[in-house]
């Protein structure tokens, strides 16, 4: 087992670990932000309560991961969340994409089908990663993964219900869900990608490899598709670029400008 205190003895281990922690933290951070933009706009009030609660919990996970980075010496957790530029971020591109046309304040024409498919696919991927990370050689991360996984059970249950029900209803519901599914598939591979340090992550037993992650994800999804007779196929692609390498869209820049506007007024303020 590796601890924070011993990390300096193995710089290659530390580099790979830090890269992975940024991926996990940035994924949760931006997907929670996109979720929070739905507040007040979800299909009904019960969903508003549930979705905001899930987004808040996901932001809580991002906070723990940024704090873990802080304890490794990467700098202040708040600054890591708010002050890093788009090209320094490691989140998958799929998670930064806007919810739809318009903005939160002006004519938000958000796509609920896209929200359901993206959040379900992401939550399943995160669950699979957390299961692997429970065996991680980096002790604090293994412990954190146990805690996150317990909470994630409920997130997954929630999104699975929406996903299977909307996929089954013929007509507009199914058509829009299938269209959203096709869109998500185009970049879902980027969520399961592990970036340039994959080899070291596996070598030092920080986590399992990308191929295994994709295999587990496809297997889980495939069994859901056959159990519920869903009219979709799994085809993982990464068309918009690899966020793990710092490649991002304008959507991320716009999101960062909005979400960090209060932070930038006074970065030293205590909230």
């Amino acid at each position: 087992m590796m601890t924070i205190e011993e990390l300096h003895t193995n710089p290659a281990y530390q580099d790979a670990l830090v890269d992975l922690l940024y991926q996990l933290a940035d994924d949760d951070f931006i997907v929670a932000y996109r979720g929070s933009e739905w507040l007040g706009l979800a299909p009904h009030i019960e969903e508003d309560v549930a979705f905001s609660s899930i987004s808040q919990d996901t932001m809580g996970h991002a906070t723990m991961l940024y704090e873990l980075l802080e304890s490794i010496g990467e700098g202040d957790a708040n600054a890591l969340a708010h002050a890093r530029k788009a090209d320094e971020r490691k989140n998958a591109i799929l998670l930064e994409m806007v919810n739809g046309s318009g903005t939160y304040l002006q004519e938000p024409k958000y796509d609920w089908a896209f929200a359901v498919v993206r959040h379900y696919c992401y939550t399943l991927a995160k669950t699979i990663k957390m299961k692997s990370l429970q065996q991680s050689s980096f002790e604090p991360l293994a412990q954190l993964a146990v805690k996150i996984n317990m909470e994630l059970h409920y997130h997954l249950l929630h999104w699975k219900t929406w996903f299977t029900q909307l996929m089954k209803i013929p007509g507009e519901s199914q058509e829009r869900m299938v269209a959203a599914w096709d869109r998500v598939m185009k970049d879902m591979k980027g969520v399961l990608a592990l970036g340039s340090y994959e080899e070291d992550l596996v070598k030092y037993n920080v986590m399992t490899n990308e191929t295994q992650l994709m295999h587990s994800w496809m297997q889980e999804m495939q069994s859901l598709i056959s159990n519920y007779h869903l009219p979709i196929e799994v085809r993982l692609k990464m068309n918009s670029g690899n966020g793990r390498l710092g490649e991002h869209s304008k959507d991320l820049e716009d999101a960062l400008n909005t979400l960090s506007s209060v932070y930038r007024i006074d970065p030293t303020a205590a909230w």
């Binding site: 309560v49 808040q56 919990d57 996970h61 723990m64 805690k147 909470e151």
Partner: protein
């Protein structure tokens, strides 16, 4: 000389900010209390990590201890995620107090599919259905009782299994 026991006693006064009948001790959130001369260290386990009440609980712990124990020089409140909080940490008394507040305590068992059932905290009817897995906070769900026609909340069961 401050004793850890004194501190634990005082912590019974710190209630959940939203459920003022139950203390953080009975909710099973207090993992450890240590006293190093006049420095008190309280280690707490959050129920859910995205819980917005954590900062309030932390402030309440500091305020309560400062008021009830003399001679404190420093109080450190830390939140740990290991061991993880589970709903089995809630005491018997905590279970009763939750129910008195109108919140069904978490069921002790979940079946293999992760599904669970609780009775109505008002009329004890077993004829209840889940309305919303996610209630006003991440740790609670909203249910409906078809016998007394009341909506009610339940604390989610959380376990490592």
């Amino acid at each position: 000389m401050i004793h850890a026991k004194q501190v634990e006693e005082a912590l019974h006064q710190v209630k959940d900010p939203e459920i003022d009948t139950v203390s953080i001790v009975d909710l099973g959130m207090v993992e450890n209390v240590t006293v190093d001369h006049a420095h008190i260290i309280v280690k707490l386990l959050p129920t859910f990590m995205g819980c917005p009440a954590l900062e309030i609980i932390k402030n309440n712990v500091e305020a309560t201890l400062t008021q009830s124990i003399k001679g404190i020089e420093k109080i450190s409140v830390q939140f740990l995620y290991s061991p993880p909080w589970t709903s089995s940490r809630i005491t018997e008394r905590g279970m009763k107090q939750l129910k008195a507040f109108g919140i069904a305590p978490p069921p002790k068992q979940m079946d293999a599919t992760g599904e669970w059932h609780v009775d109505c905290p008002y009329c004890q009817s077993t004829y209840t259905t889940m309305d919303n897995l996610f209630g006003p906070t991440a740790c609670r769900s909203i249910l409906y009782c078809h016998t007394c026609k009341n909506p009610f909340e339940a604390m989610k069961p959380v376990s490592t299994i």
